[in-house]
C-alpha cells in the first residue's frame, strides 16, 4: 500500500528494487526455522545455475543454426552471381538479371541473419557472464550458510540470514529475468529462421542445379551445352596429344588441329566407350538436350 501511495515520488529505480525485495521477503516468511531458508535457497540457487547454463546452450544452438543458414545463403548468392556472369558471357542479359534479382533476395535474407547472429551472440555472452556471476554468489552463499549454521542459534541467525539472502535472491531474480528475455528472443529468431528455411526449401532463392524448376540454370545449361562439348573435346584432344606423342608424331606441333582431333577422338573412343558411352555420341548430336525438353 505504501508503495503505491508514494510511487510518484519514488522513481523507477527504487520501485524496481522494492519489488525485488518484496519477493525475497515472501520467500523468507515461509520458513519456520530461518536456517531452513538457507538450505532451501541454496537448492534453488543450484537449480537456477543449471537453468542458466542450459539457457546459454540453447542460445548457442540457435546461433549455430543461424550461422549455418548464413553459410547456405552465401553459397547460394555466390552461385547466382556465377550464373549471372555466365549468362552475360553468352549475351543473355535477361537471364543475368533474373539471377541477380534472386541474388539480391538472398543477400537481403543474409543481412537480416547477420543482425540476428550479432544479437544472439550478445545474448549468449550476457548469459555466460550472468552464469559466472551467479556461480560466484552461490559459492559465497554456501560459505556464509555453513558459517551461520555452525555459529548461530535459530534466533540469532535471523539477521545474518536476511543479509545473505537478500543479496542472492536479488541476483536470482535478475538472472531469472535474463534467462526469460534470452528465451523470448531466441524463440522469435527461431520463428524467423524457420521462415527462411521454408523460403530456401521453396526454391525461391534456389539455383537447384539438376532440378527442373530453375529456369535460369536450365537455359544456361542448354546454351552452354554445345560450347561445353567443344571445350571438352579440345581438352581431350590436348590430353591425347600430350599423352600419346608417338601415335601422332606427324602433326604433333598443332598446325592441323582438326586433323589431330579426328585421330585423337577415334583413339580415345575405345577406352572411353565402356565407362561413358554417351559422352562422345552426344557431342556429335547437339540437338539432344532439346529432345529431352520436348
Amino acid at each position: 500500500m505504501l508503495m503505491k501511495g508514494t510511487a510518484a515520488r519514488m522513481g523507477v529505480m527504487k520501485r524496481v528494487s522494492l519489488v525485488f525485495k518484496a519477493k525475497a521477503n515472501k520467500a523468507l516468511d515461509k520458513m519456520e526455522d530461518p536456517r531452513e531458508t538457507l538450505d532451501y535457497s541454496y537448492q534453488r540457487q543450484l537449480e537456477l545455475l543449471t537453468k542458466v547454463r542450459r539457457g546459454v546452450a540453447d542460445v548457442a544452438t540457435s546461433r549455430k543454426r543461424v550461422e549455418l543458414q548464413m553459410n547456405q545463403l552465401q553459397q547460394q548468392s555466390n552461385k547466382l552471381e556465377d550464373q549471372a556472369r555466365k549468362a552475360l558471357g553468352m549475351g543473355r542479359e535477361d537471364l543475368a538479371r533474373g539471377a541477380l534479382e534472386r541474388k539480391a533476395s538472398a543477400q537481403g535474407q543474409l543481412n537480416d541473419l547477420q543482425a540476428q547472429y550479432a544479437q544472439l551472440q550478445a545474448e549468449e555472452e550476457k548469459l555466460t557472464v550472468a552464469s559466472q556471476r551467479l556461480q560466484s554468489k552461490v559459492d559465497a552463499f554456501r560459505t556464509r550458510k555453513e558459517t551461520i549454521k555452525a555459529t548461530y542459534t535459530a534466533a540469532e541467525a535471523q539477521t545474518r540470514i536476511n543479509e545473505a539472502f537478500s543479496g542472492i535472491s536479488e541476483e536470482m531474480g535478475d538472472v531469472g529475468m535474463a534467462i526469460q528475455r534470452a528465451e523470448d528472443k531466441t524463440a522469435q529468431m527461431q520463428a524467423r529462421a524457420g521462415a527462411i528455411d521454408e523460403l530456401m526449401a521453396s526454391g525461391a532463392l534456389d539455383d537447384a542445379v539438376g532440378g527442373n524448376r530453375d529456369d535460369i540454370q536450365n537455359e544456361l545449361d542448354m546454351l552452354s551445352a554445345s560450347s561445353d562439348v567443344e571445350s571438352e573435346l579440345s581438352r581431350l584432344k590436348g590430353e591425347i596429344t600430350a599423352g600419346a606423342p608417338k601415335q601422332l608424331e606427324g602433326g604433333a606441333n598443332g598446325n592441323s588441329q582438326e586433323a589431330q582431333g579426328a585421330q585423337g577422338a577415334q583413339g580415345a573412343q575405345a577406352p572411353q566407350a565402356q565407362t561413358q558411352p554417351a559422352s562422345i555420341p552426344a557431342a556429335d548430336r547437339p540437338a539432344e538436350p532439346q529432345d529431352g525438353e520436348g
Partner: protein
C-alpha cells in the same frame, strides 16, 4: 549506494552522483507515465551511462543487495511497467 543494472551487474556509486541519477530517473518515470517511448529510451540510456561512468563494479561474489535497480539496456517501456509489478519478476 549500490545500483544494479539488470542483466549487467552491481555498481557502487557516490552519493554526489546519485543526484543526477535521481533527475534522470524522474525523467524516466515521467516518460513511462505519458507513454513516450523516445523520451523513455533517452532517459534509460542516460541513466545507464551515468551508472557505468560514475560507478565502480562490485565483485561478483558480493551478497549485498542493491538500493536501486535499473532495467536492462534493451528493455522496452512495457517491460519496465512489468518490472514495477511482482508478476513481472521470476520468483527467486
Amino acid at each position: 549506494m549500490i545500483v544494479r543494472i539488470s542483466g549487467e551487474g552491481q555498481f557502487s556509486i557516490d552519493d554526489v552522483a546519485t543526484a543526477e541519477l535521481n533527475r534522470l530517473d524522474s525523467e524516466l518515470e515521467a516518460a513511462v507515465n505519458r507513454n513516450d517511448e523516445a523520451a523513455f529510451t533517452a532517459a534509460l540510456h542516460g541513466l545507464l551511462e551515468q551508472v557505468r561512468a560514475q560507478g565502480s563494479a562490485l565483485p561478483a561474489d558480493t551478497l549485498e543487495p542493491s538500493d536501486l535497480i535499473l532495467p536492462p539496456e534493451d528493455a522496452s517501456m512495457d517491460e519496465v511497467r512489468e518490472m514495477l509489478t511482482e508478476e513481472g519478476l521470476i520468483p527467486g
